[in-house]
């Protein structure tokens, strides 16, 4: 980002190559809408580009990036006439968890598990979902998540634990129920 601020145009391409995939992954989990997630990825980078002259490295670049992305995602989720997200959690069309197993049953089980995880993740409150994803998957510290979500570190600790606990209980309940749809 500092190179971009100094006028190195190729630095922006490098930032895009490095961060577009994790951002898309985060935004798609937040929105459950592939098209909207792509739009927001572009919007995040447009904002980065606009702010290139004003950027001050007070925090890690990734924290700043996720802060922009989180704000955009929360705004998008609160839009009154937001279109219905695509349904990717039916077991036929659901993405399989990344398994190396070649056995068909394992693939089917992984698909079922992936569908359930996506569905239960989507049911979490927005900030819990963001906090858990940024911590557990993207590897941000509580301090960084606090900055991205604009809440205190203590709040992040509570958000992450509530989200993880809820997900654990629901996945356990789903497993006990034989992998049913679990439409609570």
């Amino acid at each position: 980002m500092l190179a971009l601020r100094a006028g190195d145009a190729s630095a922006f391409d490098q930032l895009f190559r490095r961060w577009s995939a994790p951002l898309l992954r985060f935004l798609e989990r937040m929105l459950r809408d592939a098209g909207a997630a792509e739009e927001l990825v572009q919007e995040v980078f447009l904002r980065v580009h606009r702010a290139r002259d004003r950027y001050a490295p007070e925090a890690r670049f990734s924290t700043w990036l996720y802060r922009i992305a989180t704000n955009l995602a929360l705004n998008e989720l609160r839009r009154p006439r937001r279109r219905e997200p695509h349904r990717s959690t039916d077991e036929e069309g659901a993405p399989a968890l990344a398994v190396e197993a070649a056995a068909p049953e394992a693939v089917v089980d992984a698909r079922r598990m992936g569908a359930r995880v996506e569905r239960e993740l989507a049911r979490l409150p927005e900030k819990q979902r963001a906090a858990l994803w940024l911590t557990a998957v993207e590897g941000l510290s509580y301090a960084e998540v606090a900055e991205a979500l604009e809440v205190s570190e203590q709040a992040v600790k509570a958000l992450v634990h509530r989200a993880r606990s809820a997900l654990a209980e629901r996945l356990r309940a789903g497993a006990a129920g034989g992998g049913s749809a679990g439409g609570e």
Binding site: S20, A21, A37, F45, L97, K157
Partner: protein, 210 residues
């Protein structure tokens, strides 16, 4: 949560923080010691840890191959508007006042223009104690053959511009709808309808002038 024993509740919230490496050394030692002696908390810690495994195992969506190109296209649009904005920032506000006033007068004139009267006024204005009574007809006659409104509308600016020098006049001659959008600091995406309307206005003005 209901299954958590009363003695374990003080440790429960710290189980996530333990997984995330967010506990200080002292608290971490306490929690680890408790988990080591408590099968319930050990099971719960494993369950919480499994959630992270399930999340990280979700397949990552693929970035569309043309996403970078689409972003570049939007950036080009932004750069275009940025460069225009900078160009017009060089024009000082006082230099704009006169030409803009002329433009406003033109718009008002076009909006309020009344077709030339087809008959003479009913009552001429009487002139008190004039030695010779004025004939109202010449007034109308003078008005009729005067430059038709379309001609007057075509070139109102030089008359006004001649009254005071306008340093930015050359640049303003080239103003089109897009430039106006930049002048008015309209945003590319949000104000597209406004920009579209400016284009319609510009076309109407050209038709009127031409």
């Amino acid at each position: 949560v209901a299954e958590i024993a009363a003695g374990c509740r003080a440790f429960d919230e710290d189980l996530s923080a333990l997984l995330d490496g967010e506990l200080g050394a002292e608290r971490r030692a306490e929690v680890e010691a408790h988990v080591a002696g408590c099968p319930g908390c050990a099971a719960r810690l494993a369950e919480l840890h499994a959630v992270d495994g399930a999340l990280t195992a979700l397949p990552a969506p693929a970035v569309a191959p043309d996403l970078g190109a689409r972003l570049e296209h939007r950036l080009q649009q932004e750069r275009y508007f940025e460069s225009h904005r900078k160009r017009f920032r060089r024009i000082s506000v006082p230099a704009l006042v006169l030409p803009l006033a002329a433009a406003a007068a033109l718009v008002l004139y076009l909006a309020l223009r009344v077709p030339a009267p087809t008959q003479a006024p009913v009552e001429p204005i009487p002139v008190a104690k004039a030695p010779v009574a004025p004939d109202p007809a010449p007034q109308v006659a003078r008005r009729e053959p005067a430059a038709p409104p379309s001609e007057a509308a075509a070139e109102p600016a030089p008359q006004v511009a001649g009254a005071e020098p306008a340093p930015a006049a050359d640049e303003l001659d080239a103003l089109d709808a897009e430039d106006l959008a930049v002048l008015l600091e309209l945003e590319t995406i949000e104000d597209l309808p406004v920009i579209a309307n400016l284009e319609v206005l510009e076309r109407l003005l050209r038709e009127e002038a031409g």
